[in-house]
């Protein structure tokens, strides 16, 4: 395949978009991973061709503040059932949220462990009383 061929270029661009959380491609990649679904299967479940699925990956991810409107816009353009697309995105987002929570818990747990750890014994800094004792000698 010619690397400068348009469809090859778009496929490669779609792949690169899958590495960026701003793009729908990232959402689809996470869905494929967690649900162990192939790209082809996912395209079939959305009811789009393989070529359209690559294009879909290049779309920007729906924003949380206008989720329904954004999903509706994407779904309308490719003739996808909006509910199915929204469900897929929400599924990935909830899994991501849980993963983030776990990561946050791990960080706070490590903080607790650090707090509970015995301090190393070292030379104590001189207290006011010690200083006075020293002066009196």
């Amino acid at each position: 395949m010619n690397p400068l061929d348009k469809s090859a270029l778009l496929a490669r661009a779609a792949h690169r978009a899958s590495l960026r959380p701003d793009f729908l491609g990232w959402v689809f990649s996470r869905f494929e991973e967690t649900e162990r679904q192939s790209e082809q299967k996912l395209a079939e479940s959305l009811g789009v061709s393989a070529r359209d699925f690559q294009s879909l990956r290049l779309c920007l991810r729906p924003r949380s503040e206008s989720f329904a409107l954004d999903v509706e816009q994407i779904a309308r353009k490719w003739g996808i059932e909006a509910g199915r697309l929204a469900g897929m995105i929400r599924h990935v987002e909830s899994l991501q949220g849980m993963a983030d929570d776990r990561a946050a818990d791990a960080v706070s747990d490590s903080g607790l462990l650090m707090a509970a750890r015995a301090r190393r014994k070292g030379p104590k800094p001189p207290t006011k009383r010690n200083k006075d004792d020293f002066r009196s000698e």
């Binding site: 348009k6 270029l9 690169r16 779309c59």
Partner: protein, 203 residues
């Protein structure tokens, strides 16, 4: 869909992206990706086409994720702005590639030097050991007063094993072989005892 050369059409796509349009990024890629890749590849002849396409794609995706980075009031068309960003990406990727190669070459050279150093460090103890041995033998030879004994000792340290050679030095070459062997053995044993006494002096 606007024409890739239509600056107004591209500006319309830019406005859509700014307004949060979710499908404009795909339209922009469809419209400009191939053209930008060809244009940038022309500027970097001989460069891996995959590297060029990745650089162009990254420029496009970066812009789509943050369209406010492009300011139309500067008077630069969007296509030129993106081409410039893509060329900068190619240069950065090539610079990174060169740095990686230089680092690998330096590492390879330092590894070769280390091999030589390692060889030298292995060789030195052997060399030192040989020198020490030579000095020790020289010191032992000094302990022998008789020049014939010294010569016999030298022959032994040189690895000579033939009885005839020792017999010549001792001046007994005219004697029968069995006699020669006996005389040579006696001389060797005597020298050995002398040296042992020298090595372990009485306390």
């Amino acid at each position: 869909m606007p024409d890739p050369d239509d600056a107004q059409g591209l500006l319309w796509l830019h406005t859509r992206l700014l307004n949060g349009d979710r499908v404009a990024s795909e339209e922009l890629a469809e419209l400009l990706l191939e053209r930008l890749v060809c244009e940038v590849a022309g500027r970097f002849r001989g460069t891996d086409p995959q590297l060029v396409s990745d650089a162009v794609t990254d420029a496009l995706l970066d812009y789509c994720a943050r369209p406010s980075g492009f300011d139309p009031s500067q008077g630069i068309p969007l296509s030129r702005f993106l081409a410039h960003a893509a060329r900068r990406n190619v240069s950065n990727l090539l610079r990174g590639e060169r740095r990686r190669k230089t680092r690998e070459e330096k590492w390879g050279e330092s590894l070769a030097e280390k091999d030589v150093e390692l060889g030298a460090s292995v060789g030195n103890p052997i060399q030192n050991e040989a020198q020490i041995q030579q000095q020790r033998l020289g010191g032992l030879a000094q302990a022998l007063k008789d020049p014939v004994d010294k010569k016999i000792f030298q022959l032994r340290t040189q690895g000579e094993r033939r009885t005839s050679e020792f017999a010549k030095v001792m001046g007994v070459a005219h004697l029968p072989k069995a006699e020669q062997r006996r005389e040579v053995k006696r001389a060797k044993d005597r020298i050995e005892k002398l040296l042992q006494r020298r090595k372990a002096p009485r306390t």
